[in-house]
């Protein structure tokens, strides 16, 4: 019972302010449950979507950042689309993932952010996603060397994976973006 108690003292004001600047109006939720019922990944979540919105409204940042849900959400936008109050729930998930990474919180689903990192690493380097490089990087970092080996080989043999990265001219602009342009202003 104690475990489920939510105290206003534990409310993260900073987190609530962050949601406000992103126009994510979690206070508008009246718990109708359309978000949870339409979620295609809901069966795998530890917190259902409606709980995420409610905990966010209570400023319960820590519980949210440690959840599996924020990493298993596939960003399909079904929840935000069907919310009668047009709460940007998928963006709320984005904010939570970004906060968890910035705070260095151990992700409950470590492979998911490793994949994103591998993908963005290749974009930061070439300006475009380079599939073989990205997959190799992800495989090494996640330790999942054998998973999908057959699929990877079959895609390779079918010529679906290009061998050489396509690089863009304006790589310096991409580097600037990845070095945190805009974040000087603490946002």
């Amino acid at each position: 019972m104690d475990k489920n108690c939510i105290s206003p003292d534990e409310r993260s004001e900073k987190f609530l302010r962050k949601l406000k600047t992103r126009n994510i109006d979690v206070q508008a939720c009246y718990q109708c449950g359309r978000c949870s019922s339409g979620c295609p990944i809901g069966d795998y979540f530890d917190l259902n979507v409606m709980e995420v919105v409610r905990l966010a409204a209570y400023g319960q940042e820590e519980r949210l950042l440690q959840s599996h849900t924020i990493w298993l959400c596939a960003a399909c936008e079904t929840c935000a689309t069907r919310c009668p109050n047009e709460i940007e729930i998928a963006e709320l998930m984005d904010v939570l993932r970004e906060l968890a990474l910035r705070k260095g919180i151990l992700p409950a689903e470590p492979r998911v952010p490793l994949f994103h990192k591998a993908f963005l690493g290749s974009v930061g380097r070439w300006g475009k996603a380079y599939e073989i490089g990205m997959i190799a990087n992800y495989k090494v970092k996640s330790g999942d060397l054998m998973g999908d080996m057959k699929l990877g080989m079959s895609m390779f043999l079918k010529g679906k994976l290009k061998l050489v990265p396509h690089s863009i001219e304006g790589k310096s602009e991409i580097r600037e973006i990845f070095s945190g342009k805009g974040k000087e202003y603490d946002r």
């Binding site: 295609p40 998930m93 963005l120 974009v123 863009i168």
Partner: protein
């Protein structure tokens, strides 16, 4: 008709054939595509899911590169489309925040099926069909990102879209009525959690088969790769459904050919399409001529 064209990274890799079929049908339909010069990756799901600033600035660079030409921007990838739309809205609202002096271009960002389902394009496709794909029952699969969220995509029918059904009907095939047209296939999770992808793809393919579909068609390169690759759980071959790109079907119907090279890139055998093309012995537009010939024999 001139369009700025943003292919996106998939169309240079796993979905190279999507790009080729788009260029092919645009040539036939007299639509000129001008690739955005030096475009970069839109960041896809990975950027916006983990870093708002990068997730916005990557697609914004492409929009600024397209601003000079000022043609409407044609986008074949659903994920790229959604990211470009999100960046466009955000940039219009407050360019200064993103270090841009002014941003109020007249262009629209258009996803491929919306483009192809415009009445004049649809009429042109119908007119140019050389082989009706009449025997083929097709499940049109939209997935997520060309539709949702409508506040970003401006989709008109986000729960009951029908652009692909209109296109499929225009080339003579039969769109089936089915349940999972806009369900998520979990493409963004497919590498990290293939178990979830297999479950979601399994449900989608089962629903398509139940409705009597012999193939699926999509306008999203992530859906195409994910649904073809994740549907045979225990290596059970033979019961899978091929997933075609909408433009691949159009190209086959217009040209009356479905090349061996194109067939080879599918992970699930696409033989059903070559069979239909071969059987479409009476070209759609010369049906009456063929009947006339029969008479004379």
């Amino acid at each position: 008709m001139k369009y700025s064209y943003y292919p996106g990274c998939s169309l240079e890799g796993t979905a190279l054939d999507y790009d080729q079929s788009i260029r092919k049908i645009c040539r036939i339909l007299d639509v000129e595509l001008i690739e955005i010069p030096d475009w970069n990756c839109c960041g896809a799901s990975s950027a916006h899911m983990t870093d708002h600033e990068i997730g916005m600035r990557l697609p914004m660079r492409n929009l600024l590169l397209a601003a000079d030409a000022n043609h409407d921007i044609l986008v074949p990838c659903a994920a790229c489309f959604q990211r470009l739309k999100a960046a466009d809205k955000t940039l219009r609202e407050n360019p200064a925040y993103w270090d841009v002096k002014e941003y109020a271009p007249a262009y629209k960002i258009i996803h491929i099926s919306t483009f192809l389902a415009q009445p004049e394009i649809l009429a042109s496709i119908k007119e140019k069909v050389s082989h009706n794909l009449q025997e083929l029952g097709i499940a049109c699969y939209y997935g997520c990102l060309s539709l949702r969220n409508p506040r970003v995509t401006n989709a008109i029918n986000w729960e009951m879209p029908d652009t692909m059904e209109q296109i499929v009907a225009a080339i003579g095939a039969k769109p089936v009525s089915w349940s999972h047209r806009t369900e998520c296939c979990s493409g963004s999770l497919t590498m990290a959690r293939p178990d979830i992808a297999r479950k979601l793809v399994g449900d989608i393919v089962t629903a398509a088969k139940k409705a009597g579909a012999g193939a699926m068609v999509t306008d999203c390169p992530m859906c195409q790769a994910n649904v073809e690759s994740r549907q045979a759980p225990d290596g059970a071959r033979g019961a899978e459904l091929p997933v075609f790109f909408i433009t691949e079907l159009i190209a086959a119907a217009l040209s009356g050919t479905y090349s061996a090279k194109q067939q080879k890139v599918h992970l699930v055998s696409p033989v059903v399409l070559s069979r239909v093309i071969d059987n479409a012995a009476i070209p759609a537009n010369s049906a009456s001529a063929a009947i006339g010939k029969e008479d004379s024999v």
